[in-house]
């Protein structure tokens, strides 16, 4: 508050004003809202329950798109429209949960590796680099196969979330480490230190809040990335075969692409539009939160 009792615009309201003026960012945000709505109400407006073969008994198996089945029917009798609606909930769950988890792990490890010097930082950086050079997608496939067959049956998509997060945090961690290295030499950190603040207080109360902008952008773009990864994993047949996801539909449609193009087209379009929404929103946030571009 200044002397006139008027509150200056906060950092977040400035960012919101900048974001609002960014046309593509707003379009992205609208797409994201649309898919969140579908994720919430989708299963209740879907004409058939998840994994239902009912159209088979109505003689509609393998039908192209029609008024009754807007996105057509699989050869096995699954209604593609219902499954695309259900897929929104499941794919958003994987994207949001995996992005949240990797951001938490990445920020914790990256901030510690950037703030401390000596052995702690060396070990954490080494660990991050090992995970960074690992061919993550391949190991995700392997783990999904091993764990779903041998260890955790019935965890469903949560298993995929855990595996994606386990192999997906290293990029976040490297960026956060760089940001921490940059911020920790700034005056306000020295000021906090000279007032006697402890390491953990400085790190998580002073440094991390100041690097929240890149964290928000990374997390948003991460949702897009993890949805794409989940789609690839399920397409290859390593996902959860009992939960409708867009990747699973693409997997089931692939043997029939010569005849049943609709099983491949519509789930793929859903992926493209949804991921595009998160990417546009992430770009918009990145512009809005970037202090170098501020007027």
């Amino acid at each position: 508050m200044n002397r006139l009792g008027v509150r200056g615009a906060s950092q977040w309201s400035v960012a919101w004003r900048r974001f609002r003026r960014n046309k593509s960012g707003i379009i992205g945000g609208a797409i994201v809202l649309f898919f969140i709505t579908i994720a919430i109400i989708g299963p209740s407006i879907a004409p058939y329950p998840p994994r239902s073969y009912a159209p088979l008994y109505q003689g509609d198996a393998g039908q192209p798109p029609s008024l009754k089945h807007p996105f057509g029917v699989e050869e096995s009798g699954i209604d593609v429209y219902s499954e695309v609606l259900d897929g929104a909930r499941n794919d958003l769950y994987v994207g949001l949960a995996a992005s949240l988890l990797t951001t938490l792990i990445g920020v914790a490890i990256g901030a510690l590796a950037g703030y401390f010097e000596g052995a702690v930082s060396e070990v954490l950086l080494g660990l991050t680099q090992i995970f960074f050079v690992f061919p993550a997608l391949l190991l995700i496939l392997l783990f999904a196969r091993v764990f779903s067959v041998l260890v955790f049956k019935g965890l469903g998509l949560t298993l995929i979330v855990l595996i994606l997060s386990f192999f997906g945090w290293s990029g976040v961690s490297l960026i956060i480490r760089g940001e921490t290295l940059r911020v920790k030499e700034m005056e306000f950190v020295q000021a906090a230190r000279s007032l006697g603040a402890g390491s953990m207080r400085i790190l998580f109360r002073h440094i991390v809040p100041n690097i929240l902008s890149p964290v928000i952008v990374i997390a948003t773009l991460g949702i897009a990335g993890f949805i794409l990864t989940e789609v690839a994993v399920s397409f290859l047949g390593f996902g959860d075969a009992n939960t409708p996801t867009w990747g699973l539909l693409l997997n089931e449609g692939f043997p029939f692409i010569r005849t049943d193009w609709w099983v491949s087209l519509f789930p793929g379009l859903a992926v493209v539009v949804c991921v595009l929404g998160f990417n546009l929103m992430g770009d918009g946030l990145s512009d809005a939160l970037n202090p170098r571009l501020r007027e």
Binding site: G126, L127, Q129, I130, V133, F134, P135, L137, L138, L139, L141, L142, R145, V146, V149, L150, A224, L228, V231, A232, F235, L236, G237, F238, L250, F254, I257, R258, W261, S264, L265, G268, V271, V272, V275, L276, N279, L280, D283
Partner: protein
């Protein structure tokens, strides 16, 4: 680099051990396993010694280029080299095309920021960035292979029938669709990066100084701006190339392209642990080499960076 390599080796080895005992998998395929044969296999896979000793055996073999034998009975090493070559053929062609097309487009887009062309370029790029690569492949197969019949839909070469009448053209025909897909997706990333970095650099004072000293627009753009904008891009391209060595398993599967990614997918599906370990470690070594080469290129382009 050596500690990272050791760490990766240990993790790869542990993954193999966590995934199960290869003897049990072999035993599944035998009706009346002979105990002597199982003992011999156990000895062959060093399953009769403690795990740390087995790691030393494995690392020793690895350093001598011996990656063991897959559960199908074929040596892992020779199989991997043929897949690695097929993957590289695809990835290097796409990478070269993506760089050659992406850099001029990105520069143009940055120089004409907010023009119509810039909007078209950036929206095309973000679409490529948001698309599952393999899905684009499926759509192209439906259009160009099945509807129009112009191009083959799968494999790296024809078996009984050569496209366009000769073996060399046949290989080109098989490359076109997968290369087109990977180039578009790679292009999207490169255009976005070049544009963003060029916009940053073009705002700098030394660009103004170069312009004020009367240099031609071309010289300012390419010799002053691009050279400074490109160094961070080299790193990203290098890292991306490393990642692409894993062979984009979904894209290779879509085109039945006999590369590392497709092979790994099959091996993981069959839980062929020696093969899985072999592919993982070979890809990791190639990624480490690619990263080292990136650092060298970076240092040679940017005089501020020197390798000690």
């Amino acid at each position: 680099m050596i500690p990272v390599f050791l760490g990766v080796a240990i993790l790869t080895f542990m993954i193999g051990n966590a995934a199960g005992n290869p003897i049990n998998l072999i035993r599944l395929g035998l009706r009346n396993p002979n105990p002597a044969v199982l003992d011999a296999l156990r000895h062959y896979y060093h399953l009769d010694v403690p795990v740390y000793e087995r790691f030393v055996f494995w690392l020793w073999d690895l350093l001598h280029g011996n990656l063991g034998v897959s559960i199908s009975g074929r040596p892992v090493g020779s199989q991997i080299w043929s897949w690695a070559w097929t993957t590289m053929e695809l990835q290097i062609t796409s990478l070269i095309l993506a760089i050659a097309i992406g850099i001029p487009i990105g520069v143009y887009s940055a120089k004409h920021q907010y023009s119509k062309a810039d909007y078209v370029i950036t929206s095309t790029a973000i679409f490529g960035f948001s698309m599952p690569t393999f899905w684009l492949g499926i759509i192209l197969i439906i259009i160009f292979s099945y509807d129009l019949g112009w191009l083959p839909s799968s494999g790296a070469s024809g078996i009984s029938f050569a496209w366009w009448g000769n073996p060399f053209l046949d290989q080109i025909a098989h490359l076109i669709l997968p290369v087109a897909v990977l180039t578009y997706v790679g292009l999207a990333t490169i255009v976005r990066l070049v544009r963003a970095n060029m916009l940053d650099v073009l705002r700098q004072d030394y660009i103004l100084a170069a312009r004020a000293s009367g240099l031609s627009d071309r010289a300012v753009t390419y010799r002053y701006a691009l050279r400074n904008a490109i160094s961070p891009i080299i790193t990203i391209i290098g890292l991306g190339f490393g990642a692409s060595l894993a062979g984009a398993p979904a894209t290779e599967t879509t085109f039945s392209w006999p590369g590392l990614g497709y092979a790994f997918t099959q091996a993981a599906s069959n839980l062929d642990i020696p093969l899985v370990q072999g592919i993982t470690i070979v890809i990791t070594i190639m990624v480490l080499v690619a990263n080292l080469m990136t650092d060298i290129v970076y240092a040679s382009l940017d005089p501020r960076v020197r390798i000690d």
